[in-house]
């Protein structure tokens, strides 16, 4: 399965909409186990992505992901800026290869996260959503239940990367804010694929 440009645009648009409308939830999740700003950070990124896409309509998938990446890198800051930025930048480079499957694309984004964050699954980060989604896409079993299960799993983990890791055991029982924003990303993808 591959994503057409028009669908990919919808995907990103839905994502930034969800970020804007769920700022408070993301901040609250981050207040519990981080520093309370993940919603604000992603909202800033969302606005920057919207502005960049309006300024210049992307003509290729590579363009679209690169514009998204640059907006995130330059406007989000924090941990999530370079992470989302790196994932989309790597996806932008890879998507120039016409044969790239959607499942490969997401795996490449996931690998970008792992490289930038020096991290992996099981550390209670956004990677714990990206990797299961990538796996499900490969197995052609991607739906909402994958995301729900990933979030449920993240909730039970003890954080070992990012601010939440300072809380050690106490980080258990909370959804990681970056995992939640990534859930919005992939829920947007489901909406696009379901059409």
């Amino acid at each position: 399965m591959k994503l057409e440009l028009v669908d990919a645009k919808k995907w990103i648009t839905l994502f930034v909409e969800k970020l804007e409308s769920n700022q408070t939830i993301l901040n609250e999740l981050d207040t519990a186990i981080g520093d309370g700003d993940h919603g604000t950070n992603m909202k800033r990124g969302a606005e920057a992505v919207t502005a960049a896409l309006e300024k210049k309509e992307p003509e290729t998938l590579a363009d679209l992901y690169k514009t998204t990446a640059f907006a995130m890198i330059q406007k989000v800051g924090g941990a999530s800026g370079p992470l989302y930025g790196t994932a989309f930048l790597d996806m932008s480079k890879a998507v120039k290869n016409d044969d790239l499957e959607l499942s490969d694309l997401i795996q490449i984004g996931t690998d970008g996260l792992k490289r930038r964050g020096e991290s992996d699954t099981g550390m209670k980060t956004m990677i714990d959503v990206w990797q299961p989604v990538s796996d499900a896409l490969k197995a052609d079993k991607f739906d909402q239940s994958v995301i729900d299960a990933a979030l449920e799993n993240v909730k039970g983990l003890v954080a070992t990367k990012g601010r939440a890791s300072y809380l050690e055991e106490k980080s258990k029982g909370h959804i990681d804010p970056g995992a939640q924003s990534s859930a919005y990303l992939f829920e947007s993808l489901i909406e696009v694929l379901g059409e």
Binding site: G77, G78, T160
Partner: protein
């Protein structure tokens, strides 16, 4: 939430604008950024390795308050409690490089580390030599290969002072990085909060404490600590923190420096009382304090609380700490 602000989104640019306009002889803003760079005549006259630090806002006077002859060359301010972006850090690097390279002083947070790393990659593409030191002085967090590791907190101000003074004296980039790392390895901090900070975009305190409770081991971004207990007399708080910190030093002979740091909402009065108790206890333990400093150096918005930093110091470091410096806030 009651704060003296305008729009939440304008906090950082307006703050930086206020800071540079009221200190125009010391610092100026780098166009199109919320980074500030030295603006004193000596900056151009005496060439040296550039020292750049930065991080999320809300810790004022860190870092912009420490820009000046003998301390930082530039400071980059991110959004509140949010690492600045690589493009802004890159601008600061290019503004201060005088051909001798640039040292980045980064506090150990995922975001800061990643954004400074991206900026380093950008500057290296311009053939600017870059080294990074990562401050992780907060001993209330366990250090392990499997976590983010210890946080960078109040000790950052001491690192910036020592490394800044050494850079002014002409030390080269490699030696500065080595010195900085050695200093970091010898700084230990632990903090307590009486009341959490209110992040403007959030609108309420990061956590709630009872009327007689304090939290031990807090970070500078409302990160909760390792224990909530009833408040005790300053003396007992001082003894508790000292005991925790001294355990980290295998050798308690030689010179030590201390920093009693207010978190933003705690008056100097309490800081001096606490400092007095710290000096009493260290004297009783025969620890030699050769430098001490008290004040709101590394804050957490309006958090009420205090942190204690103890550094085992070489004689040189004490000299660097004591050297006069021309900054807004040291």
């Amino acid at each position: 939430m009651k704060k003296i602000i305008n729009n939440v989104e304008d906090i950082v640019p307006e703050m930086i604008s206020g800071l540079v306009r009221t200190n125009a002889d010391l610092v100026k803003q780098i166009d199109g950024t919320t980074a500030v760079v030295r603006n004193d005549p000596k900056f151009k006259e005496n060439k040296q390795v550039g020292i750049v630090s930065g991080g999320g806002s809300g810790h004022e006077p860190l870092h912009a308050g420490y820009v000046g002859d003998g301390m930082l060359s530039a400071a980059v301010a991110g959004e509140v409690f949010t690492s600045p972006t690589p493009d802004q850090i890159y601008e600061a690097i290019t503004a201060v490089d005088q051909g001798q390279g640039v040292l980045l002083i980064v506090k150990n947070y995922s975001g800061d580390v990643m954004n400074f790393d991206m900026a380093k990659e950008m500057a290296e593409a311009d053939d600017i030599e870059i080294k990074t030191i990562v401050v992780d002085d907060d001993i209330s967090v366990k250090n392990s290969e499997f976590t983010q590791g210890k946080r960078g907190v109040a000790g950052t101000a001491l690192v910036e002072k020592i490394v800044g003074a050494a850079a002014r004296s002409g030390m080269n980039l490699a030696d500065l990085a080595t010195l900085g790392q050695k200093v970091i390895d010898n700084i230990k901090t632990i903090g307590i909060a009486l009341h959490a900070a209110t992040v403007p975009a959030v609108g309420h305190p990061g956590f709630e404490l009872g009327d007689d409770e304090i939290e031990y081991g807090i970070g500078i971004h409302n990160e909760r600590g390792y224990a909530v207990e009833k408040i005790r007399p300053a003396k007992e708080l001082a003894n508790e923190l000292i005991e925790k910190i001294l355990k980290e030093f295998s050798d308690q002979s030689g010179d030590f420096a201390i920093l009693v740091n207010g978190m933003g909402g705690t008056p100097l009065m309490e800081q001096y009382i606490f400092a007095n108790d710290v000096l009493n206890e260290l004297a009783a333990k025969k620890v030699k304090v050769s430098f001490s400093k008290v004040g709101n150096l590394v804050t957490s918005l309006d958090m009420q609380g205090i942190s204690l930093t103890i550094m085992k110091a070489d004689a040189d470091w004490i000299k660097y700490l004591k050297e006069p410096v021309t900054t807004i806030a040291w």
